[in-house]
Symmetry: C2
């Protein structure tokens, strides 16, 4: 288990009061006292380390057409946060506040507002410079517009409402934890379709990169996780970076994130590259996908639908690999975020899947 | 005075309780009992009919570098609103509510938040698909993010906070009435510079189009207002449209709006044209401007600054005219908005100004 995930597990055990100290948490985990399972085995997704422990509240996202549900925790912010492997007292305190104050307030607000139409909100955000993975400034803003009046109506204590609004406003990535389960909910009905060569999951755990394919059951096609090239927070360099990590590649699997860079040129200031690279990334992804989104469109490309549905056969035929953008965690437990950058999915995952597909013919 | 402006004057006189009925208002105005003056003669700007009457609260925008102030009313929304010439009971009721509840709540919130950095907010919105004239969805969203927690803290009655938040959320053009005075505050220091051929004001009153130039004092160079081509609200056609109207061309004068279309491709769904036209509009405006914005940039053009500072000499040399986008009012008083579209400023204004500049040589 890589450093940032070890850090997040240590933090989660302290947060759950199952361990008193991070050191005790390490001993527990090393002794086999903790049961681990991938988020994707529970219809869930988690950014970066992706640790979801029993007390953490989750968003519940429904695919109304197919009736399936997906789950994701609330986003903690950037820097020293659990999902980047930090576990200090400020991390635990924030998680406790999210459980005790943020979540009940959001639950009450959603009871007033009713369910939020995430497809519409994501479609709008994608016309406002977001790509839904590492740029969620517009989505977070649109969410605040819906939540703010509902919070005011639903929560009696104005100090709570103010703290909740300032917390969400303070974190432009807050909406990421809604785009991710939205994509998960959208993609799950594409699982288990006989003969399908369309990728339904791409995920990384900081050590390996795994791919699942619609016609190939629950099997994970696994290869070593890549190393993102990116921009570094002050004081950090490529030396500090853990390999690629997290379930957030569900955004690229669903046709946004790295696949939607053409609509989010300003993101290059966060992940590196140039606006021309961003445009080219999207254009390239049309070469390896089976369709174009009906709901998510690119104004700059004459409202063409985003490239969606990675086809293992096309990846093999073209040699083009899915483009990803990602946050970057420190390789050691306890530090947190060190930057953000770009990379591609490993070719070996698609080679293995292609070999399995060939056996079906 | 054109139809929508007559309608707005009628509404304003009823709103001010100076007339009991719109008919009485017409009689008062026809009898010369009302004094009129352009907004720009009072450091103010008003979208469309642009009527500002004594009881209407205004935003106050300061240019911190030069110390000058600019003013603009709060935006009422779209459809049947005073600035589009409507004056029915619902228009008056809304204006009264804005005076009695919206404005005091905003004033209290601003006392909590402190002054808002509009330059930063506009710069961000321009990276989020706004052009600051007819697309202000991002700016309105960013404003709500600042105002919401401040309103919660500043205003005791949660029902008032909720109404104010829902009113602003219900109108993606709310931020227009902040981009306009921001541009006015930015441009005024460019007035009165000896020999300057840079345009400091473009404005229309629904009959005429007027231009002022930095080195040519307070003189208005005037020509008949153009007719926008655009998209029509259901039930309306080009036959219903009043000629080009309002002070909102201060946005194009300041290098955003029609000059920033390259960053706002989604706007073509509101004003017409294609994303390629939008890109070309901005590229063309570099040909008639003296500089590129330091604060307002275009990610899609490698973060090039917006074209700013229309030079009368370059307009004459190239034959290219400033590109505008605009809302469209019904030509009769009392109806309201009928669409939105695109046009250019009239050449005759620049010919007259150029002739005056030539006399200085």
């Amino acid at each position: 288990m890589c450093g940032p995930m070890r850090g997040a597990v240590m933090g989660a055990l302290v947060y759950e009061a199952l361990a008193e100290t991070p050191e005790q948490a390490v001993a527990m985990a090393a002794a086999g006292e903790v049961e681990f399972d991938p988020c994707h085995h529970h219809h869930a997704v988690g950014p970066m380390a992706g640790v979801v422990s029993p007390s953490m509240p989750v968003w519940i996202v429904e695919n109304e057409t197919f009736g399936n549900l997906a789950y994701c925790t609330q986003n903690e912010g950037l820097g020293k946060v659990l999902r980047y492997g930090a576990f200090g007292p400020e991390v635990i305190k924030r998680l406790k506040w999210m459980e005790a104050e943020l979540y009940p307030a959001l639950e009450a607000a959603l009871a007033v507002s009713g369910p939020i139409d995430l497809r519409s909100m994501i479609a709008q955000a994608l016309h406002m410079g977001d790509e839904g993975h590492n740029r969620n400034k517009a989505g977070t803003s649109l969410l605040i517009r819906i939540l703010a009046p509902a919070l005011v109506k639903a929560v009696d204590d104005p100090a709570v409402v103010e703290r909740v609004l300032r917390f969400i406003d303070g974190n432009d990535h807050f909406f990421l934890n809604l785009t991710m389960p939205a994509m998960k909910a959208m993609l799950e009905p594409a699982e288990g379709i006989p003969g399908s060569s369309v990728v339904t999951v791409m995920a990384r755990n900081g050590t390996d990169f795994g791919v699942r394919v619609g016609g190939l059951g629950d099997h994970w096609f696994v290869a070593p996780a890549g190393q993102p090239e990116g921009l570094w927070l002050p004081g950090f360099t490529a030396e500090d970076a853990n390999p690629d990590i997290g379930d957030s590649t569900i955004t690229e699997t669903g046709g946004i994130g790295g696949f939607a860079l053409a609509g989010a040129p300003a993101i290059v200031q966060f992940v590196g590259g140039t606006p021309r690279d961003a445009l080219n990334a999207t254009l390239e992804m049309y070469e390896i996908t089976v369709g174009e989104h009906s709901a998510f469109t690119l104004p700059a490309l004459d409202f063409r639908g985003m490239p969606v549905g990675i086809d293992v056969r096309r990846v093999m035929e073209t040699g083009l690999l899915p483009r990803l953008n990602t946050g970057i965690a420190h390789k050691e437990p306890g530090v947190g975020m060190v930057g953000a950058g770009l990379l591609t999915a490993p070719k070996a995952c698609f080679e293995q899947a292609f070999a399995e597909l060939a056996k079906l013919c």
